[in-house]
Symmetry: C2
Subunit: 238 residues, 2 copies
């Protein structure tokens, strides 16, 4: 289980010439075990997206005791990537394919002025937001639907049907948190949903229009993709 501040990284997945979390983890494992391993992550978080509960798996023949593994890895990882738990699993375990659901959180700072402490972790929206309207609109998206309206333009998933088991807004002082749980997410899906619900909050869309956008299966009708830095992979369930 890995936590990271995604600000300084080009996302989770390895990309030639760019610093990614996957590459850091593979280098850290090599540094402590000497093994060239490939790490599999449950969620392919984008550049700037954070994680509080990313799950990765890898195969090792190393002899470091399980409970020492996090300390050994953290001793060679930078301070913005922290391993918070290690568990021995069956050799067939696959962090992404075996996941039953994933939980993401999108955070919005809704006050007039930005906050120096949250500038990397919450999207600053200075306008007044209509939270009850955003809550109503979120309700229309819960369930098993074709989410083609809420994915990155031009992305090509095999199917765009997903089951969104939960989508709720919660207020914490000046912060609004959108919690989204699903069996899987399309590329940019949470950010497209957050961006659309924020249009509702700003009064630019009526809550019921979100239902029609969903049914239209047309990305052009939904709101903009909310910025990456408000997003965090909270938990992966197995």
């Amino acid at each position: 289980v890995v936590q990271y501040d995604g600000t300084g990284y080009h996302g989770f997945q390895r990309q030639p010439g760019l610093v990614t979390v996957q590459e850091l983890l593979e280098k850290a494992i090599k540094a402590i075990t000497g093994e060239e391993v490939r790490v599999t992550g449950a969620g392919r978080t984008d550049a700037g997206v954070h994680a509080r509960g990313q799950v990765v798996n890898f195969h090792t023949a190393g002899t470091i005791p399980d409970e020492r593994f996090p300390f050994a890895l953290n001793s060679v990882l930078p301070p913005d990537v922290v391993v918070v738990g290690v568990e021995r699993v069956s050799p067939e375990f696959h962090a992404r394919r075996n996941a039953i659901s994933k939980v993401y959180r999108y955070s919005v700072l809704n006050r007039v002025f930005p906050c120096p402490f949250l500038r990397r972790y919450a999207y600053h929206v200075p306008q007044r937001l209509d939270l009850p309207a955003m809550m109503e609109a979120a309700g229309y998206l819960v369930g098993r639907h074709d989410f083609a309206s809420f994915r990155a333009a031009g992305s090509s998933a095999r199917t765009t049907i997903r089951t969104l088991t939960g989508l709720e807004w919660r207020r914490e002082g000046d912060l609004l948190h959108l919690r989204a749980e699903a069996d899987g997410f399309l590329y940019h899906m949470v950010r497209a949903i957050a961006g659309t619900l924020l249009e509702v909050g700003r009064g630019k869309l009526e809550p019921e229009e979100v239902r029609r956008i969903l049914e239209a299966r047309n990305r052009d009708l939904a709101g903009p993709t909310a910025p990456a830095h408000g997003l965090c992979l909270e938990e992966v369930r197995y």
Copy 2:
């Protein structure tokens, strides 16, 4: 009223050749009014110390409407320094001398692993801490006392007597927050108190020993100065 992430600054007060918050504010005021002003801060926060409620005053003959001032200043300030309010006061007002009390918060992350999101804002203590003992020890320091045991070694304040009106620990998940309110603080006083109370939490000092350390007026007896990044100036009261 100014909020800042102190990580990148050499404290509040101007120092030749170093980037400080005071200098940034004075440059920002010059950029929007054309005036060379001197800014007076309520608290001279150290390098790495943060602020959620620093108060500064300055004199201006500028014509920018009061309510536009924060927006104008923020447009030229970096994102880790944010003006969150401006108020017109009498020309005699002095942000430091007129303050009745200041509130600081010292934050400790008490879990086995560090946290990538709190690495700049809380002191990580992986050992189990005895919070009731730390609370008891804090109680001995409340009141009007000579705090010579809890200041930077070699500092030379006119008097080392201060009135600590409040000193309480509060738990918030893995975080422990020490809230300290006083009519004034000696240099490094909150950090010396936090460092000493953490020695109590680790079982290296008995709670009652903190009373004896206070009475001895000897800096050598107290615990180490806790690191700057856990400290935040929360509020200044007038």
